[in-house]
Symmetry: C2
Subunit: 122 residues, 2 copies
């Protein structure tokens, strides 16, 4: 279960353009983008499973991308698994499910009137 600090960390991680693009492409395969259909789909390819492959798609130095990936890992958005001397990056679908559920609950409670509704007139 994600606590408040976990959630803040997740949002902080996704609130940066470079990390958001990495996240988006890792999760959607870089082809069909469910997160943002208005943006180009080719920022990063789906098969970019290692740090250097991802870095190729950016104009930033490798250590910079490495740091961004660490932040995504620390936020439990991705997982990193060392196989031989390469690191394989995978989406952490469990975290996304939990975040997804938070937003669903939040909006559903609103729809069903569970939550206090504001009265702007006073």
């Amino acid at each position: 279960m994600l606590d408040m600090d976990d959630k803040i960390k997740i949002f902080k991680a996704l609130g940066n353009e470079t990390r958001f693009k990495i996240f988006k492409n890792i999760f959607t395969g870089g082809y069909a983008c469910s997160i943002d259909n208005t943006q180009p789909k080719d920022d990063i390819i789906a098969q970019a499973t290692c740090v250097s492959s991802i870095a190729e798609h950016f104009d930033f130095a490798l250590p910079t991308i490495s740091r961004h990936l660490k932040e995504l890992k620390d936020a439990k958005i991705i997982t990193m698994k060392k196989v031989k001397n390469k690191i394989y990056i995978e989406p952490n679908i469990e975290t996304m499910k939990e975040i997804s559920e938070c937003f669903t609950t939040l909006t559903n409670e609103f729809e069903t009137g569970v939550v206090y509704q504001y009265d702007n007139t006073k």
Copy 2:
């Protein structure tokens, strides 16, 4: 429709403890917290419809809270409506619905195998 920059702005806004607490309490009424059930519910009360009322619940100066609220407004997370000389703050449920949908799509596509699945073995 939210584009990539909109989404990054939303995550940036929620990736800060103070703004997250304000968001959480404005959306959930501060009573039943769907965003984080493990945290105390009384950071801010639901009826905190104006800037100064929200500020009372923090140890920060009023202009600091005002700036945080502006950021939440700019990210379309809340709306602010001036009535007489007070500003009434409301949750922007439409934005949350859209974000909710993004995450739902993201996780559903994974579940249903629409997205390329990584092969860690190579």
